[in-house]
């Protein structure tokens, strides 16, 4: 394994790698942000919705969680264009990852809401807060602190799942690396390098998460 050769090849390919990295980050960011927002909504409906709503949402989450991400991505990729929604591979992939994220976040948000002692709602009621006020001032702050570690975990799962978009032809980091490898056959070096880049991204997300955990932690 020639380090010098690898480094020179990496340098030559730096813009492709950089573009790929940006694409990966873009995919992940959109999926995580939109998916989490959707997930909070899903969690709310699962906790406070009436029985019919809860049933429908349950089907939604069970469907998304019982299906492998890969199948979800392929399904969105092939199906959406058939039913008239013209999405390119990037958009279809991000769509699939967003749905995937929403089901996970919905589940953990619901868990967090259920974990809040009922006494909190009772105390809020007893001082005359409406449900809306109770939710935003009392329940949400506690639930968000509770789900932070798990949510960070979900975020790293999305970043890892973004690699699957390479299979439907989206030019994110992994596909970019594969295209480079097809030119110079340095598969060992570049797969390892790209693996390392993903490791860096996820490690940074974890570190960021722990920083925020400490920042919003309740003093004790």
């Amino acid at each position: 394994m020639d380090i010098k050769y690898f480094l020179s090849e990496a340098w030559i390919a730096r813009s492709a790698l950089f573009e790929g990295m940006l694409s990966t980050l873009e995919i992940s960011l959109i999926a995580i942000l939109v998916g989490s927002l959707l997930g909070v909504f899903v969690g709310l409906l699962l906790t406070y919705g009436n029985i019919y709503l809860r049933f429908l949402i349950r089907i939604y989450t069970d469907f998304l969680r019982g299906t492998p991400v890969f199948v979800l991505i392929l399904a969105c990729f092939y199906i959406l264009s058939i039913i008239g929604i013209q999405l390119n591979a990037f958009q279809a992939g991000v769509f699939a990852l967003t749905l995937f994220c929403s089901s996970h976040v919905g589940e953990i948000f619901r868990g967090a809401l259920l974990a809040i002692p009922v006494g909190q709602t009772e105390a809020s009621k007893s001082i005359g807060l409406t449900f809306r006020q109770t939710f935003f001032s009392v329940l949400l702050p506690q639930a968000l602190r509770q789900i932070l570690p798990t949510w960070v975990n979900t975020a790293t799962e999305i970043v890892k799942a973004s690699t699957l978009l390479s299979i439907i032809g989206v030019a994110e980091l992994l596909l970019s690396a594969q295209q480079i490898i097809s030119r110079n056959f340095l598969s060992l070096e570049f797969y390892f390098f790209v693996g390392f880049l993903y490791f860096l991204i996820n490690y940074s997300i974890e570190k960021l998460g722990r920083y925020f955990e400490r920042k919003v932690a309740i003093p004790s």
Partner: protein, 261 residues
């Protein structure tokens, strides 16, 4: 609607209160009045319905039949033409600010400071400005002896301190009636008296109070009237001297014996 209060009509009037949890009838026709400035203690064994009655007053529990009214205004429902309609959530929330409740498990909001716990209701419900709310809150925290802890979080305080903040939180809302649900039962014994002292002070200043308690000695000292409940009904009621020293009913006598009073 407000019928208007004259000096002799009670602040809290409970008439023929009925409540069932599924097949289990927990309240079987409870009649109770609390006049302005009166301190009433509810005693009885577990399952007697005393806590459920208390929680019907601020509609933390819905009741199936009967009337609960504060200053003539029926809580939670409106009766018209013999039919009972539940009020809107907004109306109920507004009604709840007529009462203040202190819980056995304190139920302080853990993510905000003691001061913020007290100002939350003042700002969101009473619509006070931050400065005014803080002033009111600090006055009450001072009254319960915790002004130095105002920026502490619940997890940084002892049980007795948390419960005193909970009292401040409830009473800062200027309720007409304070409800206490076994507020010392979850406290370590040495922390009980600091809370009871605060309640005693409030009573002396004329706060109308309804307490559910196991602290017989305290009930004897602070109450104007003691009400003994058993299996969903009021069995005996009267001034503490009579209730505790000369119980009329056998049930009450047995209960007092078992409570070692």
């Amino acid at each position: 609607m407000n019928i208007g209060q004259n000096m002799s009509s009670p602040l809290l009037k409970i008439e023929n209160l009925h409540k069932s949890f599924g097949a289990l009838e927990v309240l079987r026709g409870v009649d109770l009045t609390v006049s302005k400035g009166e301190v009433v203690s509810l005693i009885g064994s577990s399952g007697s319905g005393k806590t459920t009655s208390l929680r019907c007053v601020n509609l933390l529990e819905d009741y199936d039949d009967g009337v609960v009214a504060i200053d003539g205004e029926q809580i939670g429902y409106q009766t018209g033409n013999g039919n009972r309609i539940r009020r809107s959530e907004k109306e109920i929330a507004a009604q709840r600010s007529m009462t203040g409740m202190v819980f056995q498990q304190f139920n302080l909001f853990p993510h905000i400071s003691a001061l913020d716990n007290v100002t939350l209701g003042l700002i969101k419900v009473k619509k006070l400005g931050k400065v005014e709310a803080t002033a009111v809150a600090e006055r009450w925290l001072e009254r319960v002896g915790l002004i130095d802890h105002r920026n502490h979080f619940p997890s940084q305080m002892s049980g007795g301190q948390q419960q005193r903040v909970a009292i401040a939180r409830a009473i800062a809302m200027s309720p007409k009636l304070m409800l206490f649900d076994e507020v010392t039962s979850a406290l370590d014994p040495e922390l009980v008296s600091e809370v009871l002292n605060v309640i005693q002070d409030l009573a002396t200043e004329g706060m109308t109070m309804l307490l559910v308690t196991h602290e017989m000695q305290f009930a004897h000292e602070v109450s104007n009237k003691v009400v003994f409940m058993h299996e969903g009904k009021i069995v005996e009621e009267g001034p503490p001297k009579i209730i505790f020293k000369n119980p009329e009913t056998r049930r009450l006598a047995e209960f007092l014996k078992r409570s070692k009073f």
